[in-house]
Amino acid sequence: MLAAMFFVPQGGSILATVLNWMIIVAGVALLVAIASLVLTHLRFIANGKKGFLLSLVLVISFLATLVFGLLRGVDDPVFLKWVGAVIRPIETALLGLVALVMMSAALKIFRERGWSALTVSFGVSAIIFLILGLGFLQNLNFPALNGVITFVEGLPMIGARGLLIGIGIGLLMMAFRVLFGMEGSGND
């Protein structure tokens, strides 16, 4: 893959074949994951394990969606509307809990971790960017202040660039470790 990615025109055919393999494997893996999920919850229901009612809800929902999708198709507007009406509020509520957890963490981080370079830098940067996010300083229209704000808002790009470089190097090293057998599987 690496060679094909580097030698783009010449390794195009090989890369396309490997990508097709990856798509097939990913699709089959998705089916296996779905089957495993359903069988696990069916086992919970059969054994009467604690919380099996939730498993029962999951299995019933899965079967209803499967049957409804097979009968009416995935492009049916009614089907899409019903599915959307269920999934959207659930996932939105879950994301709202993230805001709650983050506020609680903001309240407890200094009490739990104490005063350290990491917590202090995090607190200071969070306060600065929260203030900038409110937009009050930008509305003042001070040229000097606008220059400072522009500089400060450009700082995340520096960090993100370093983060991306680190991610690239880390992925490359991990690939070499796996290729040369230096990295075991996750089950070891």
Binding site: I87, E91, K108, I127, G135, G154, R161
Partner: protein
């Protein structure tokens, strides 16, 4: 006589054996030449002997009696006495030489001859040696028996302290002493009985103890207290604690016993023990008391057994249990008695009674569980200690108890008191679960949201400055001409749909207004029903085609690598190179990176723009800075790039403000806790 002795010569003087060639005895130095002389021959001068010798020989030859074979006649050396005592021949038939011998034997004292006298001396010496050896062996045997008895008694004396250390096994001698030791109720009669026995029967052997008793008796008689009973030898240990015990005696006992005035002048402790008491350190006082009991015990027991006999043995089982309980108290009393020689103020160092007991190393098991079970001596010791002066300045430093030691002793005493009681276990310190804090935060958030909803949605003010990527994106959209193909890729989840749709809808509306041909593609199944809401918000027709591409962007990569694949089959996207702009609507920076890093290199002329969440925006900034992205809009802050009415900018700002307040509250509370802790540490 053995052969060895026959080879050796015996000294005629001392009878010791000497070598044959020795002329003098190696033991006594006497000459041994007489052995070489002929027995019966007179010691004459050499000339006279030489003259008489042929005559004697001639007579021997002519003597008919001597014609008898030599075997039948004993030799004159072997049986000289027999020949002298039992003459076998009549007197007229005696030879002349024999008659001379007999005459000479009657005239001289040493008629038996030197050889015979030496033999007799040797026999006498040997008989003396034999009698002396038998007597010596007998004496040695007696001595060995005596030594063995002494060793056994000393070994038993050494083993007794170790046995007494075991609280459950009281040694036999101690039990006898305790049995003989008078009980408080029987003390007077016992002492009187002992005294009367002494008066009636004097001991046959005056031992040291008996002499001590007599000396104490004399001292008591000299003193004004003439009625002081002579304590028994077995009660000697008890007699030692008389000074301290006198104050603790009950009045009834005082009436029975004689009073003890002048305690500071009189004591019945022997002088040798006084020296011993002065030299013994405080820690060894208990051992000293035990050892004293041991040294006195054996002989005292014998005396008491002689005095009381079977009566004491009969009382032994009854007294044994009481005395075992009374043992700690008695030991304390004995120790006090030993310390009574020191100034009274020194006893104030032992003020805390419990700590005193533990300082002395009293075993816990020997302590009575109930104070009421203590004998009268143990009970009465407490008021005595409380009456002692508590002037610690007069106490030697080695007897002072530190506060830490007293605290530890008190703690140990309290633990002992609480032993066996049902006490509540230590409750584990409950760590705050934080539910109250989270509830407060949730209520605060709800309050802000409700207030913002009640006030109503407020759009972002138009004068709010826009971000550079958002401005670039807006400019790119404005540059679109009619019939330009634009690919809209929907790659987000329902959770972030509200934020992304609020940003994307105005852009789609502008594109649609400009006459661009929109192709909507989703790589996730959820994108199908999410696209409906987006199209509704953008005002697009409901029949707008939304295609689903399985395999995520890997399929697009495959199409980009091999364009022939996209032209076959039912692929909704025939050719990526036909699009002028690809607008990525995604809540994942990884998916956007995949597009930019995996697909864009294969299609050089394709422009990419992105709409993402504010959380993912910093990661996309490098791609915008490098030109891989022509622009992007992120979050509610870039919501002013279009006209949208469903977005509540006020709620967003309230949320940010609450987050800021929470962060500051956390910092302030931490600073306050640190200040309180420092203040407490400073106060401590």
């Amino acid at each position: 006589m053995t052969e060895d002795h026959s080879e050796l010569n015996l000294c005629p003087n001392c009878g010791k054996e000497n070598l044959p060639m020795a002329t003098r005895c190696v033991y006594c130095g006497s000459e041994m030449e007489s052995l070489f002389t002929i027995s019966g021959q007179a010691q004459m001068p050499d000339e006279e002997a030489e003259d008489s010798l042929p005559d004697i020989i001639e007579e021997i030859r002519n003597d008919p009696a001597l014609q008898i074979p030599a075997e039948e006649h004993p030799s004159p050396e072997s049986q000289p006495a027999d020949q002298a005592d039992e003459p076998t021949l009549p007197g007229d038939q005696l030879p002349d030489w024999l008659a001379k011998v007999r005459e000479r034997a009657q005239e001289e004292e040493d008629a038996i001859g030197g050889l015979a006298s030496g033999t007799m001396a040797m026999d006498a010496a040997r008989s003396e040696e034999g009698s002396a050896g038998v007597e010596g062996e007998f004496n040695a045997w007696i001595n060995r028996i005596r030594e063995k008895n002494q060793q056994e008694s000393s070994v038993r004396a050494r083993q007794l302290p170790g046995e007494s250390e075991e609280p459950d096994q009281v040694p036999e001698w101690l039990q006898r002493i305790r049995a003989l030791q008078p009980h408080p109720e029987e003390e007077t009669t016992h002492e009187l009985k002992t005294r009367s026995n002494y008066a009636d029967e004097l001991p046959r052997e005056w031992t040291d103890e008996a002499l001590d008793e007599l000396r104490r008796q004399d001292l008591a008689e000299d003193h004004a207290q003439e009625t002081q009973p002579l304590p028994a030898a077995g009660a000697f240990a008890e007699g030692e604690k008389l000074p301290a015990e006198a104050q603790a005696k009950e009045p009834s006992e005082r009436t029975q016993e004689e009073p003890e005035p002048g305690e500071d002048e009189f004591h019945n402790i022997p002088d040798d023990e006084d020296e011993y008491l002065e030299e013994v350190p405080k820690k060894d006082l208990t051992q000293f008391t035990e050892g004293e009991e041991e040294t006195i015990s054996e002989e005292a027991v014998a005396e008491e057994l002689e005095i009381e006999g079977p009566e004491a043995l009969a009382e032994e089982p009854e007294l044994q249990g009481k005395e075992i309980l009374a043992e700690p108290g008695q030991e304390i009393q004995q120790q006090k008695t030993l310390q009574s020689e020191e100034p009274v103020a020194e006893e104030s160092a032992l003020e805390p009674e419990k700590s005193e007991k533990f300082e002395q190393g009293e075993p816990e098991s020997t302590l009575p569980q109930d104070e009421s079970e203590l004998p009268s001596e143990g009970k009465e010791a407490q008021p005595e200690e409380s009456d002692q002066p508590r002037d610690s300045t007069a106490v030697p430093p080695d007897l002072l108890l530190l506060r830490d030691q007293q605290d530890r002793a008190s703690l140990l005493a309290s633990l002992i008191e609480q032993e066996g009681r049902v006490t509540a276990g230590k409750q584990p310190a409950r760590k705050p679960s934080g539910r109250a804090g989270r509830l407060a935060v949730a209520l605060l958030l709800l309050f802000g949201l409700i207030v913002s909803i009640l006030i109503g949605p407020a759009a972002i003010p138009p004068e709010t400055p826009k971000s550079i990527p958002a401005i670039a994106l807006s400019d790119q959209i404005q540059a679109m001409a009619e019939n330009d193909q634009v690919l809209i890729v929907l790659d987000y989840q329902a959770a972030t749909s509200r934020e992304l749709e609020a940003l994307t809808a105005p852009l789609l509306e502008q594109l649609h207004t400009r006459g661009a041909e929109l192709a909507i593609l989703t790589t996730q199944p959820s994108g199908l029903f999410l696209a409906q809401t987006l199209l509704a918000q953008a005002g697009l027709p409901e029949d707008t085609q939304v295609d689903y591409l399985p395999g995520s962007y890997l399929s697009l990569i495959s199409q980009a690598v091999n364009p022939a694949i996209s032209t076959t089959g039912s692929n909704p996207v025939k050719d990526l190179r036909s699009f002028k702009l690809v607008l990525l609507v995604s809540d994942s920076s990884d998916n956007i990176r995949g597009w930019l890093e995996q697909i864009a290199p294969w299609i050089g002329t394709l422009n990419f723009a992105a709409v993402t969440t504010q959380m993912e925006a910093p990661v996309l900034s490098p791609y915008f800075d490098s030109g891989q992205l022509i622009g992007y809009a992120a979050g509610i802050a870039d919501g002013n790039i279009g006209v949208q009415s469903t977005f509540s900018y006020r709620a967003y700002r309230v949320g940010l403000l609450l987050m800021l307040v929470m962060l500051l509250l956390g910092m302030i509370s931490k600073a306050e806790a640190d200040a309180i802790r420092r203040e407490e540490e400073r106060s401590e």
